[in-house]
């Protein structure tokens, strides 16, 4: 696949065409549901009554978008989502990268145990511990210490602290996966890199920041993307900890509950509102991906370290 031989074999001639058709077909499978939702965004009530309308609205309108902006409180929610997702994703990426590096490159007692526990945090589905998690932050206490000190338990729900604390300590949404990925990645980075740094008088912490982080760039960007995307669309933690704070996933329920059109015009209209909200939530994410994607490729062309 990488070879450049003077005489192209028949396989090499047919392959690009085959590849293109295959990817195009699969793209269709992925895109179709999105196309449907995008079309719905522009449908007017008249289109709903009209049985001849399929995929192309005959009386397109921007009302749906306007309603989501107005009733859903789109822009404040957008700002909150942007701040929370950026902060959480940055913290998670960094902390998980550190943990993955610690698990991959150092030997100490208890390493295997804690690594297995990191995996365990993703095996236990969030739903299983949702009530306990809520209670933990509703009556926050560190093993009864605060209570003993006379402070009493703290109510941390309805603040950003629960999400921030979980992100800072690599126990947030799917963080075990990121730790696992980083560990596996660092296991593939040759030991010579560390040894050379040590010979040059770098202690492990400086080695990590100066040499390891730049090398891990492709993986870090992928993890940041995943983390950002999951935080952006997360309904679990926002529903648990921040019921009153407007973030993008919550406008979904808001817009169907408040908008009079959704209430009076029945299920089809409310489903249209929902789909509009989904597309308006997902589109910024897609744009971020396109921007990062470019960065991703640039980063890669410089590194390529595994197996040197």
């Amino acid at each position: 696949m990488k070879t450049k031989k003077p005489r192209p074999s028949p396989v090499r001639l047919v392959w690009p065409a085959f590849r293109f058709i295959l990817l195009l077909g699969l793209s269709y499978v992925i895109l179709f549901p999105f196309m449907q939702k995008i079309v719905m965004m522009f449908m007017s009530p008249a289109d709903l009554q009209n049985p001849t309308v399929w995929m192309v609205p005959q009386a397109p309108t921007l009302d749906n978008i306007r309603r989501v902006l107005q009733y859903g409180g789109y822009w404040p929610a957008f700002r909150n989502s942007l701040i929370i997702s950026t902060v959480c994703a940055t913290l998670q990426t960094f902390v998980c990268c550190m943990a993955g590096y610690g698990f991959a490159k150092f030997k100490f007692r208890g390493r295997t145990f804690f690594f297995l526990m990191a995996i365990a945090t993703i095996i236990i589905p969030p739903q299983t511990i949702s009530l306990a998690l809520y209670m933990e932050f509703r009556y926050f206490d560190i093993y009864g210490l605060l209570d003993a000190a006379g402070v009493g338990s703290l109510k941390l729900v309805e603040t950003v602290l629960p999400s921030a604390m979980l992100s800072m300590t690599a126990t947030g949404l799917k963080n075990g996966l990121y730790i696992f990925v980083m560990r596996q990645f660092f296991k593939g980075v040759p030991r010579e890199l560390n040894e050379a740094a040590t010979l040059d008088g770098c202690d492990p912490i400086r080695t990590f920041f100066r040499i390891i982080l730049p090398v891990a760039q492709p993986m870090l960007i992928s993890i940041f993307l995943l983390s950002f995307a999951w935080q952006w669309t997360d309904t679990f933690y926002s529903g648990l900890f921040n019921r009153n704070m407007a973030v993008l996933p919550t406008i979904l329920t808001k817009v169907t509950a408040i908008s009079t059109e959704a209430i009076t015009k029945g299920t089809k209209m409310s489903s249209i509102m929902q789909n509009t909200a989904v597309i308006m939530t997902v589109t910024p994410l897609f744009i971020f991906y396109l921007i990062f994607q470019k960065k991703l490729i640039q980063g890669i062309e410089r590194s390529g370290i595994v197996g040197q």
Binding site: M1, K2, T3, P16, F20, L22, S27, I30, L31, Q36, A99, Y101, F103, F106, F108, M117, A118, I123, I124, P125, T128, L131, A132, Y143, T169, A170, T171, I179, V181, F185, K187, G188, R191, D203, P204, I205, M219, S222, L226, A229, W230, T233, T235, L252, T267, K268, S270, S271, I272, Q274, N275, V278, T281, F286, Q293, L296, S303, G304, G307, Q308
Partner: protein
């Protein structure tokens, strides 16, 4: 990688110091795990042994012992059967997801026109399988009336894009004297192509960044030595990627068991929040968890033997 012998030459002090640095790097996780996660898990387990009544300020627990567990195992009509059905389905689906995502990642890693476009498209499944899109699709009157994604949106429908009837493929394969089990397997895969594509999003991204981390010089060296693309795929790409393949296998299994649209998670949610039997729901969740851990341990043991690391310990 025969580095084992040099290890003994190192002094104990250096190793202890190295170990301390290890603790430094994993410290945030250890702190979070001990201070936040452990209490949460312990409480979640207590809920499975107690009945919970919500009061104005906090909740009260009353001890019921194993009642929730015996309800899940012996009284609930479908819990056990559904769990085993899901297990069978995942055993079929997971290898397909791994192979598919590896294949797509290799394709997307090749130099071609429109690569950025296709990569962006294949990122979309990551979004689709998250909370909000699933939530919106669960009650989507419009999608139902418009017809689902050319018949492939739901696994329930039997036609693949453009009225291509699945029973025709089945009939054709049967005519070719292909064993029934194989035919069923293929039909199942074709029928589930929509879910396979959508559950491969994360895996494709991880594979892609794994592929991009492999040094191009190795391929150049192999090329100079006259290796074909096929050979360098098996002799370079697969071993170099095997740590990431390992992650992806584990993740695929975990994701299959724990994603929110799987029937057991829905059942647990239903028992817990709609029928208000939180005790039984958490007992079910713990039983289910034991099964997941057993399956994962088996998978991990098998995979570990085939994983190639630059350094082993």
């Amino acid at each position: 990688m025969k580095r084992v012998k040099t290890k003994k030459q190192r002094t104990g002090a250096l190793q202890r110091k190295n170990g301390l640095y290890g603790w430094f790097f994993i410290a945030p996780f250890v702190v979070g795990f001990l201070l936040i996660y452990v209490p949460v898990i312990v409480n979640a387990f207590r809920y499975s042994l107690n009945d919970i009544t919500m009061g104005a300020d906090g909740y009260e627990l009353s001890w019921v012992g194993g009642a929730g567990y015996s309800y899940a195992l012996f009284t609930h009509p479908t819990f056990l059967r559904d769990t085993l059905e899901l297990l069978g389905k995942l055993l079929l689906q997971s290898p397909a997801i791994i192979l598919f995502s590896l294949f797509i990642a290799v394709l997307l890693n090749q130099k071609m026109r429109g690569r950025g476009f296709f990569r962006a498209i294949f990122f979309l499944p990551v979004i689709v399988t998250t909370g909000i899109v699933l939530k919106a699709d669960m009650s989507n009157a419009m999608l139902e009336s418009m017809g689902s994604a050319a018949g492939i949106e739901t696994g329930a429908s039997t036609t693949v894009a453009g009225g291509f009837d699945i029973s025709n493929i089945k009939f054709m394969l049967q005519q070719m004297y292909i064993p029934a089990a194989v035919v069923d397997f293929i039909v199942e895969l074709v029928n589930n192509i929509y879910s396979i594509v959508n559950y491969s999003g994360v895996q494709i991204i991880l594979f892609l960044s794994g592929l991009q981390s492999i040094s191009p010089e190795i391929y150049e060296a192999a090329d100079v030595d006259g290796a074909s693309g096929w050979e360098s795929f098996w002799k370079i790409t697969v071993p170099m990627l095997s740590p990431i393949i390992f992650v992806n296998i584990i993740y695929t299994v975990i994701d299959g068991f724990t994603r929110s649209d799987n029937p057991i998670m829905a059942l647990i949610d239903d028992v817990g929040f709609n029928k208000m039997n939180y005790n039984a729901a958490s007992a079910m969740a713990w039983l289910y968890l034991i099964l997941v851990v057993v399956v994962l341990a088996g998978v991990a043991l098998i995979c570990y033997r085939f994983t190639f690391y630059q350094e082993r310990d």
